[in-house]
Each structure stands twice: as C-alpha cells, then as structure tokens.
Amino acid sequence: MSIKEKQERVTLGFWIYLMTDLLIFAVLFAVYAVLKESTYGGVTIHEIFNPPFVLVETLILLTSSFTCGLAMLAAHKENKKMMVPYFLVTLFLGIVFLAMELYEFAHLISEGHDWTKSAFLSAFFTLTGTHGLHILIGVIWITILLIHIKLRGLTPTTLGKLTLAGLFWHFLDVVWIFIFTIVYLMGGVS
C-alpha cells in the first residue's frame, strides 16, 4: 500500500480526532453559555474584559495561523530555507499569545478573581485555559517536528506529520474566533 494511501488514512484518523477535540470545546462552550451569568455577586465578564488587549491577542494568533500556512506551503515545495523561519515565527507568536493569556490570568488572580470565586469564573478559566493548553501542546509538537527535520531532514513521513500539526494549529485559531466572539465580545455588550 502506497505512502499516499497511508497518509490519507492517517490524515482521516487525525481529522476524526480533531473533531472529538472540537466536541470537547463544544461542551466547554455550552457550560460557559449556561453559567456565564452565575457570577454570585462577583465580577462579570463585562468587568474583566480588556478590549485592546484581547484584540491584540486575537490578531497575534491569527497571524500565527497565516505564517503556519506559509510554512506549510514552503514545506510542500521542499523549501527548507523558507519553511523553518516561518515555523519559528509561528512558534514565537504562539508563545507571545500564551504569555499574554497567562498575564491576563495572573492579573485576574491577583485581584482575587480566581476560578474558585464563582461558576462564571470557573467556566471562563476552564474554556480559555483549555484552549491555551492546546496552544502549548501545539508549540511543543511543532518544536519536536522541527527537531525531527534537523536530525533527519524533511522526509515524506515528517511532511505528513507537519501537515497534521498545521491542521491542529489552524483548528485552534478557529476555536479562538468563537472564544473571542462569545466570551469576550458578547461580554462587552451589556
């Protein structure tokens, strides 16, 4: 059975996995939607929403998805000279995104608005935190793949795995669109 058939099979399997991940997020979204008003007298989303900060975060992640796409195009053309820098930029932007999110969390916690204070805060931290955890996993994964490429060059198998990692990264940006809209923007409306 050809490499192409094998890749197709692996891609299908990964795609199914990605859909199960999407369903986990769906549950977290549903829980957030149900619990977002349950602030128990504490802070509401409107009060903790920092518009410019979240906009910058969003644009950074969006750009990283773009550079990831450029990196994948270079990879398919076997242009390692372009591919590696694009991936490094993607990783850098991903880490900046994480740093910004951690800063936001630290700020909330220092003001006493941690996840034990209300159902809303529990749901908020869990939804955004789970997304952040996935970004962290994506960063580690792409780093490992870059190490693979350094040690063994860009083989067809590694190219296949890079494609999956790229899919993962794009998927995380798609999820963020909805976090940005449903958590932050809709919270900004009151």
């Binding site: 399997g13 199960t20 986990i24 829980v31 602030t39 159902a119 529990s122």
Partner: protein, 660 residues
Amino acid sequence: MEFIFGRLTLNSLPHEWFTIGGTGAITMMMIGIALFITRIKRWKWLWNEWITSVDPKKIGIMYMIVASLMLVRGAMDAGMIWLQQAMSVGASSGYLSAQHFQEVFTAHGVIMVFFVTMGFLFGLLNYMIPLQIGARDLASPFLNTTGFWLYVAGAILVNLFFVFGGQFAATGWLAIAPLSGTEFSPGVGTDYWTWSLQTSGLGTLMGGINFIMTILKMRAPGMTLMRMPLFTWTSLVAMCIVVTIFPILTATIALLSLDRLFGMHFFTTDLGGNAMMYTNLIWMWGHPEVYVLILPSFGIYSEVVSTFAQKKLAGYKSMVLAAFGIGSIALVVWLHHFFTMGAGANVNAFFGIMTTFIAIPAGVQIFNWSSTMYKGKIRFLGPMLWFLGFSGTFIFGGLTGVLLAVPPADFQLHNSLFLVAHFHTTIIGGALFGIFAGITYWFPKISGFKLDEKLGKYAFWLWIIGFFVSFTPLYILGLMGATRRLDHYDASTGWQGLFIISVIGFLIISSGAIMQVIQIVVSIKKRNKNLDTTGDPWNGRTLEWATSSPPPFYNFAKIPEVTSRDAFWEMKKNGTHNKKHEYKDIEMPKNTALGLYISGFALVFGFAMVWHIFWLAMVCVVGGVVCMIIRTFDNETEYVVPAAEIERIELRNIKQRRST
C-alpha cells in the same frame, strides 16, 4: 510528608472485612498466576506473544479475558445487591451498611457497562472486523495496543480502592452532582470513579477512531460499503457514536474533577454552580452509550440469523438504514432520563416523542430477521438459541422502554424498579445475549474447535429462565412503587416475597453462568471431537470463514477480491475460495511495548490524582509524553514476512482443510 504522599496515609490501607477480603483475593490470584507462569516458564512467551502484541486477534482475546474477569466481579456485586434487598426488611438492616450498599451498586453499574460489555464488544470487534472486511490489521496497531492497555489501567483503577482507600464512589454509576462533589463525597471513592473512567474512556475513544479508519479505508477491493456484512455496518455506526459522545464524557468528568480538585463551581450547590447541567451533560453521553452497547449485538444477530436459517438476510438496505436511524435518533433523546427534573411540558414532549421514534428502526430489524427466517432451513444451534432468546426478551424490554418514554408514565416510574427491570431486560436480553451468540458463533474460528452444543443449550435455558424469574418481580415491584437503590424497606410494603423470588432467579442465572464455564472447560477437554478443520463450521456467508481456524497471524495470504454481499458465500458458489495463488511478501506491524508503558504511566497518573500526589502526576505526564515522542522517532515499525513463510503456513492449512 503531605507533599510526597498527598492524602495517602497508613489508614488508607485495608482494614475492613471486605477490603481485606478483596485485597486478599486479588493478591492471591495474582500470585497464583505468577507462580503458574513461572512454573511453565512462559514469561518471555507471554511478553512477546501477548503483552506487546499488536495483532488484533490477540488483543481481542485479551479484551475478552479481562471482560470475563470483570464480569465475575460485577456479578458478585449484583449478588450482593440481591441478597441485601431480600434480607433488609423491617427490623433487619441486612448485612451491608447503607454506605457500603451504595458503593456496591455503583461499582456494579460502572463495571458492567464500562468494563464488561465494552470489553467484550471491543474484543469481538478487534478479532472479527479485519477478517470480515478482508484486512490484515486495524488502521493503527499502535493505537490498538495503547487503547487496550488503557482499558486495563481503568479496570485496575476501579479495583484499586480495595488496596488503597477502602472506599469506592457511593454516588450511583453516573456519579450525579452535587452528590459527587467534594461537599457530599469528600473521600477518594468518587475520585477512583473519575480517573478510572477517564483512563478507559481515552482507550475507548482511540478504539473508536481506529475502527472507523479501518472500516472506511481498509476494506478488500470490491467491498463497497453496501457489500459489507451487517456486523461491520452496525459496528461502524456504534463507533461513530463513540467518537461523538466520549468527548462529552471526557469533558464532563473533567469538569467534575476540576470542581473536586481545584475548588471550581460548575456543579456545586453554591457560588453559582448548576448541578442540573451535570445531569444534562452526563446523559447526553449516557443515552447514546447504551446504543453503542447494543448495535454490534444487532449486527451479530443479523449474521447468526442468515447463517442458521441458511438464507440471505432480508432487507439489507433497510437494515443499514435502521442502524443509521437508531444511531441518529439515539443522539437526540437524552432528556428522557430526567423528565422529572423539571424542564417542563414542551421540552419533555419533544424528547418523549423522539424517544418513541427509536422503536421504528428497531421494529424494522425485527421484521427483517423474521422475514429471513421465514421459509429458511433453521438450525436450532447455540447461536440461534441466543437470538431467539433475545427476540422474546428484547421486544419486552423495548416495549417497556416505549412506555417509559411517555412523560406522564415516567413521572410514576422514574427511578423505580420498573426502570431497573427495563434496562436490564434490554442490556441482558439485547447486548449480553448478543455477545453470547457472537462468542458461540465465532468460538470455532478463534480456537479451532466448537463449543459443546448440549451444555450450551442448558446454559441458555438456565440464563433465560433465570432472567425472567429475576426481573419479572422487579417490574411488578416498580409498578407497586418500589424505588431503585433501596437498602431497606418496611415489612408493611409486602415486597419481600418478590425480592426473594428475584434472588432465586439470580441463583438460576448463576447456574447458567457456571454452566457456561463448564461448557468451555469440557469443550477444551473434548476439543479433538469438535475440531473445525475446514475453517467454515457453520456454512457461513462472510469473509471470516474463508480463513483457517484459527486464522494465520496475517489473516489472508492474498487479500480477497469481493464481488457481492455475503462475499464468502459467493466465493463458495463460484468455487474460488480454495484456489491456489502466488504468494507474495507481506508487511506486518512489529510488536511494541510503548502502548503498555503509556498506559502504565496513565495508571500511576490516575492513582496520583486520586491521592493528590501532584509531583507524581507530573512525572507520569512527562513519562507518557516522552513515550509518545519516542514512538515518533521509530522508523521501523513494520517487518516483512517472506513469501516462502506465507506459502509454508498456507499449504499446511490447506492440507488440513482438504484432509476432512
């Protein structure tokens, strides 16, 4: 100290009669097995041939062995429940404390659903799906072994409380909030529930993805979807449901864990928590799950009926549509489990109506099976008996389900013994009898010899009589007002008589189960009289019968070309199945221990999370991730079986087939 050991103390070690007993039993069993293996000098063999194997046939057998062990445990729990309820009337409070009784019925449910039924199902799927579609393995052998060992890790965790902690969840098998939160269940019991289900759930999800990939992408050339056997079809639908719903379970249990571990407030009674959301989410998983349990059995019945009536299955297309129908409707009925929680008439009406719709595809199946049997030459052998037992029992169970689907009726019967009888009728009559039918049907393929027919008949009659003697009283009790999970009731209710009849039923069922064990032992002893030398003991219709019994490790020397449904029947008609052909080299996956190691880390991780030993949990996460990374660096995961070796095995098998 607290950092190193979390909340584990000397007091967590066994110090009550049942924890000492349980620990003793488990330890003795393990020592016994270890001594036996040492005596017959088979450790290396065990490691190479079974533990690190990625052969789905071996993994399938291992699943079924673990599932059988868990069946013993689950049945013991059932016996304890029966006994308690027959004894605990009026002045007597039985022999179990209320707390212990709650832990027993919780464990009973968890073990039977997650570890027995799912275990047997995955066992049969692993062995038979590749054979039925003309493949040599699943799409990902690595995921397969990892999924299996994760299941084992979950099974260990659910039993580990005997040794450490002495307490299991006392919350019911679904651990409904807020009872399952730290406020009302502060001990480790519920945490064992949480982490054993997360671990085995991850394994199940891997299996689901693997089987979908396999069925969609690895069918033999010419086997279009509409030429697949019905067992493969219903299993595909079941696996699609699995990948849809297990993420929901994972997320929900994770949220409960966050409440318990980090003081979050998803399902707590204060600070804005909403426990009703837990019920909503857990049943979103829970209802489709029962259809996962039964759909493969429906497929088995289709295979058995057409084989033993010696007729093509009637209405193939409608059977496929029925499977899809059941699968789809199953996803939109979950609220019928909590009609009484208060969503109101409109919501209840919608879900009630959707629930009654499931009867339609179920009915289509019954009609098609009947139609297949009509004017067929029926052979009343073991598998066919289990099917007939199923059809009577399941129709009864299904009808009571439709009754319960009507909200006003459910308001009377919700959480009564009527409900308990209903779901046991459908699970035992439907899923379990299907598993028995499948095991009896496929036993010769797996072992090379048939099971003793007479003992099998005795076992069947004991089971079905015992079943009705046990559960009919429960239907009546439910209608009389008896609720479920009662550890004590007043003598004035007049219920004790019916509970006692139920215990008698349990004893009859147990005799049936013992008879099955005897059947297996006797069949092994008499195996030379019942040898299956042709590979096709029942005059079967599907591809698994085209191999020797048991099949060679590569299943097919040459992947068959399929030209119609009932592919093997077609091959026999055209005389193409024993043709000699040119042998080629075959690529097969290598064994790997990484699945075992990852699951080992998962097991210790679960243990660490239960006891709040967070440094250990982190170590295990790193360990598991490192294993996965190591796997990605492994370029040689396959090896080549030379054509000469294939030829040698095939010629030997053909010689055996021809000599009868």
